[in-house]
Amino acid sequence: MQVTTTVNGEARTDEVEDRLLLVHYLRDVRGLRATNVGCDTTSCGACTVLLDGESVKSCTVLAVQADGREVSTVEGLAAADGTLHPVQAAFRQEHGLQCGFCTPGMVMACVSLLKDNPRPTEHEVRDGLEGNFCRCTGYHNIVRAVLVASGQDPK
């Protein structure tokens, strides 16, 4: 089947297998391999990307379902001159990543969360990221990073 998608602003048409998952399309067809696969039960959120601005688990979406739509991944987040997006910068500043495997999905989930709720409380941050697992950070610094990215002092 043919799929035409705009990924990080770049439109393209590709011939894909019907069953190809969006995450594998992004990784293997589009060559955007920051987005990771951490599970096979839609549990971990490592594969989170934005589909028409809404966060989705790209392991649960078929590539063909993205036809005619826009996908954003972490590769498209920083400015053209390399300046980090505020969420990326806050993750670095607050040490919100260790091994980095959950990070691309986590960062996209945070971007989506802050779009819906620009000044979340700690409780709202935790609720909003419930679908994203991290094994390294204990989540402590991820929460701080989101608060910092939203212009708040995490104390």
């Binding site: 040490h95 495997f101 990070t103 691309p104 989540y139």
Partner: protein, 754 residues
């Protein structure tokens, strides 16, 4: 200004946050062009004899290049690598005649694409003859069913006295005993296991997601029966390990075997469901603690009997009781300590190291046991601990089990934790809620711990080169997978030389480049790898001073380091100087050195956990975790705190939530992330780390290990807190994880008994 001890953000992060890391699955190395995909066919039952393997149907699927079994690959059963294990417990990389756990590898399907492998693997037909499952540890110890009939026993490894001392508790006014489960949990790094392999100039080149490339190389060479010079292991970025990626697994060696057999590049990335049954699990001990002492709180004797679940194969898990034994005396001055341990095989996934690996079990056993003792004599848990703590020491202290602690001040750690948590206020609030008959009860749990870090190997290498372009390159034998060594090692080099951090690269994990190295595990990296980097840098600076003295016609003693110019100058005349880059342009400026620690170090600390337990539902929630962790001098607080946070979370997970479960037939009940209760962000609060730093004299950094402290301290503190919340209702003990069902059942049982 010195950067030592400051919060330096990581040099690794910009890449990880923009293009992402390059994990094994992400590799597009030209040597892997056209790589085939390997899919394992795994046993669907716990214990069976293999009668036949029929591959024709699978071979007919599109894209299938080969379906291979142990026979095709010439794999034979081999004895376990560790000499102290029962040597007749032989296993092969792919099962030859018997499978012993759900997930045991039986065959591999090799295909052009990954999706094709999943299609075809279901059509490899294996005919099995069922054998009985063996899940219960006591039953395993009874040898009624044997997993390795030729061994005549299920015991892999045992240590301790042949007979228990009948007089151990003589003279005790009170003796408490309790069987305590330290349940099996999954390491579950977010990146599972992965490997890729190719043949280059007759050599096998393997990329492995590992914590220790050199160990991986040794293991793969042994399993494949090949010479070390014919294998190169390269470590791509690694998405977490937590002990379960130390060295290599048999599955990694299979990837190498298939590449050799087919003469083509091959790659394998396991699925999560595969990971949950086929990556080694952690913990898995059944411990019986007995504590005897006086009513004033003094403990006179402590006995720990350990039954370790090794899983289906004799791997690292079987030897963990040795560490549990070593650390059994903990932070206490108990006059008598007796430990007896035994590891047995069961029809479950093999066990191995998991964050702490044998030490959390030791701390958990005594810290839970002391609370039982305190409850029995009606004394505050903090008081009981204070009564029995070893006094502060600065000269090495030798314990009853032969550990030599470097430094320790346990009472101060406990006092700090109690003060930071305002312990009296917590107790008052607990009392208030109880008196008011509130449904949300408060529980307060303590733990005081000491652990061993950097135990083995004792040495680590570092190679530092200052280059003519002003940059520096560091080679390290450690193997970061989230810890931030590229940042930390660059800080060490920059501090001594003035070379800016962004001009320093750190490389690791390639056995051609770094043939000798210990890897990263056991909280060893900074105290050995970091110490080696500092030693190499200092030797390098010394070399530069000698060379500069010749060049500047000065006495070497008059040459001083000038970090502002990243070079040296003659003392008192800053203009008469030369940069390291200029020196390197004349002659390579490089030092390779080995640091050897005089001994392992023993970080310690104290945790206070505060939980809320809903008496109606049994649901326990962690409200606060106040944690004093003394890991010696801290190089980069940002990184050290990150390690602590991650450890706390995994410790909390074990106390409250996580458990790998099997049904009586040995079928895993937690084989996906939908069924394994992986700790999520709403399960924990923000943590409250408290600083304490007693330097170790064993390295010039004063650093001890910090990677596992959080897990070791948090699990017993949180576990104790849950039981403390409901202790006044007659509950004495609840095993981990303290799920709502378990707590609720314990409450009902206590109610019925009263």
């Amino acid at each position: 200004m010195s950067i030592m001890g400051t919060r330096v953000v990581r040099v690794e992060d910009p890449r990880l946050l923009t293009t992402g890391a390059v994990y094994t699955e992400d590799l597009r190395d030209p040597r892997l062009t056209g790589a085939l995909h390997l899919t394992f066919v795994r046993a669907p039952m716990a214990h069976a004899r293999i009668l036949s393997i029929q591959t024709a149907d699978a071979l007919a699927f599109p894209g299938v290049v080969a379906v291979l079994t142990a026979a095709d690959l010439g794999m034979e059963p081999m004895p376990p690598a560790m000499p102290m294990f029962t040597q007749t417990m032989t296993t092969s990389l792919l099962a030859t005649d018997t499978v012993r756990f759900v997930g045991d590898a039986v065959a591999v399907v090799v295909t052009e694409t990954a999706y094709q492998g999943q299609d075809a693997a279901d059509h490899v037909h294996v005919e099995y003859d069922h054998l009985p499952a063996l899940i219960d540890l006591r039953e395993a110890a009874s040898d009624a069913v044997l997993l390795y009939p030729q061994a005549g026993t299920n015991t892999v490894f045992a240590m301790g006295p042949a007979e228990l001392d009948p007089e151990l508790f003589a003279g005790c006014e009170v003796v408490v005993t309790q069987e305590i489960v330290n349940q099996r949990v999954a390491a579950a790094p977010l990146e599972g296991r992965a490997a890729a392999a190719t043949i280059e100039d007759g050599r096998l080149i393997m990329w492995v997601s590992t914590q220790a490339a050199q160990d991986a190389k040794g293991a793969i060479c042994r399993w494949l029966g090949i010479e070390p010079e014919t294998l190169r292991v390269i470590t791509p970025d690694v998405g977490g390990g937590f002990g379960a990626k130390i060295g290599a697994d048999p599955d990694h060696a299979v990837v190498g075997a298939v590449a050799r057999h087919l003469g083509r590049p091959v790659r394998w990335t396991e699925t999560r469901s595969e990971n949950m049954v086929a990556m080694t699990h952690g913990r898995g001990q059944l411990n019986t603690v007995t504590i005897g002492g006086k009513r004033d709180g003094t403990v006179l004797a402590y006995r720990l009997e350990i039954l370790q679940d090794a899983g289906a194969q004799p791997r690292i898990g079987a030897v963990l009781p040795a560490l549990t034994t070593l650390m059994a005396p903990a932070v206490y001055a108990f006059p008598k300590v007796e430990v007896k341990a035994r590891s047995v095989v069961t029809t479950t996934t093999p066990t191995a190291a998991y964050r702490g690996a044998g030490r959390p079990e030791a701390t958990h056993a005594i810290e839970r046991g002391l609370d039982l003792f305190a409850a029995e004599i009606g004394m505050d848990p903090g008081e009981v601990r204070r009564t029995n703590l070893l006094p502060a020491f600065t000269e090495p202290h030798t314990t009853a089990t032969g550990a030599v602690y470097d430094t320790g001040d346990y009472a101060v750690a406990l006092d700090k934790a109690l003060a930071a948590s305002d312990y009296p206020a917590l107790r008052a609030e607990q009392e208030r809620r109880r008196a008011a008959g509130e449904e949300k009860l408060l529980g307060i749990g303590l733990s005081v711990y000491v652990e061993i870090t950097g135990q083995a190997p004792a040495s680590e290498i570092a190679d530092v080169e200052l280059r003519p372009d002003g940059s520096a390159r560091v080679l390290t034998g450690t193997s970061p997978h989230g810890q931030g060594h590229a940042t930390a090692w660059a800080m060490l080099v920059s501090e001594e030389t003035g070379v800016p951090m962004d001009r320093i690269t750190v490389e690791h994990g390639d056995t051609d480049l770094i043939p000798v190295g210990g890897g990263t595990f056991g909280s060893r990296s900074l105290q050995q790898g970091g110490a080696a980097v500092r030693q190499a840098t200092r030797e390098l600076v010394e070399l530069a001073r000698q060379r500069a003295a010749d060049l500047l016609e000065a006495n070497p003693d008059d040459i001083v380091v000038d970090t502002a110019r990243a070079g040296v100058h003659v003392a008192g005349s800053p203009d008469a100087g030369v940069s390291f880059a200029e020196l390197a342009a004349k002659e390579p400026l490089q030092v390779h050195t080995t640091f050897t620690s005089p001994g392992p170090t023993f970080p310690f600390g104290a945790h206070v956990a505060v939980v809320e337990v809903d008496v109606r539902t049994g649901k326990a929630r962690l409200e606060r975790l106040i944690a004093v962790d003394d890991a010696g001098t801290i190089l980069n607080p940002l990184l050290a705190e990150g390690q602590r946070h991650g450890g706390y979370a995994q410790g909390v997970a074990q106390a409250l939530i996580e458990e790998v479960r099997y049904d009586p037939e040995g079928n895993p009940e937690t084989s996906t992330l939908a069924t394994y209760p992986f700790l999520g962000i709403t399960d924990v609060p923000s943590f409250e780390p408290v600083d304490m730093a007693t330097p170790t004299p064993y390295n010039t950094l004063g650093a001890k290990g910090v990677g596992e402290a959080g897990t070791i301290g948090a699990t017993p503190a949180v576990h104790n807190a849950v039981i403390d919340a409901v202790a006044h209702l007659g509950v004495r003990h609840i095993d981990m994880p303290t799920t709502p069902m378990r707590v609720w059942s314990a409450l009902r049982a206590a109610e019925a008994a009263s």
